[in-house]
Symmetry: C2
Subunit: 124 residues, 2 copies
């Protein structure tokens, strides 16, 4: 499980840093068959997903990870599930929002792409 | 996606009803290769998972689902990812706990088993 946790940590660090610094380049992490469910809205394909993420109505955003869990998601390929819970700080708001997000990462050459992505805010 | 959402709704309804009424019989939903990560603790296999769930230190428990999202998790088999957020009411406490849980369900005969299960409480 050590390798799985390392991949999960490196992926989420890169993903959320890119989300903060250059959201449109997240397109490179998805493929035509990738799925995003964003607050219940279903979006298919890298370009549509990147467009959705890029057009979210905030300028400055930071994800602070509270918990990070990873498991192998297949017995035949080296794919993995990554489950994140944390706080979303939007436009320097003093009231961060709780979120939960899951990814399924699929090996692709020497790297991974995001096949599944489900994001939800958790209202108290 | 309609069929996926139907399976996800039926599964979670059955799972959480069984969790409330007869926790030990959840063993039937897992297999030897199933994984549970419970609040960061990794548990492998149906029997160990059912033992963990059965021994959780509460008598009465109810999961109230707030959001339920589902996606196909493979392009080759009819497996699916189910992402739940909700409230956990333990022993009639007036302060429900927020939780998030994900399942990967794998087809097995005419039904499904739980291959991946990740559970986290979300503290505010």
């Amino acid at each position: 499980m050590a390798e799985i946790n390392k991949v999960a940590t490196e992926f989420t660090t890169f993903y959320y840093q890119t989300f903060s610094s250059n959201r449109s380049s997240l397109v490179n992490l998805y493929r035509p068959q990738s799925m995003l469910t964003w607050e219940g809205q279903q979006i298919l394909g890298a370009e549509a997903i990147a467009e959705k993420l890029t057009n979210l109505p905030f300028q400055k955003v930071e994800h602070k990870i509270t918990t990070l869990d990873a498991q192998p998601s297949s017995t035949s390929i080296a794919s993995l599930l990554v489950a994140v819970t944390g706080l979303l700080v939007v436009d320097d708001s003093p009231n961060p929002l709780q979120f939960s997000q899951i990814f399924q990462l699929i090996p692709d050459g020497g790297s991974y792409f995001v096949f599944n992505d489900v994001f939800r805010l958790n209202y108290g």
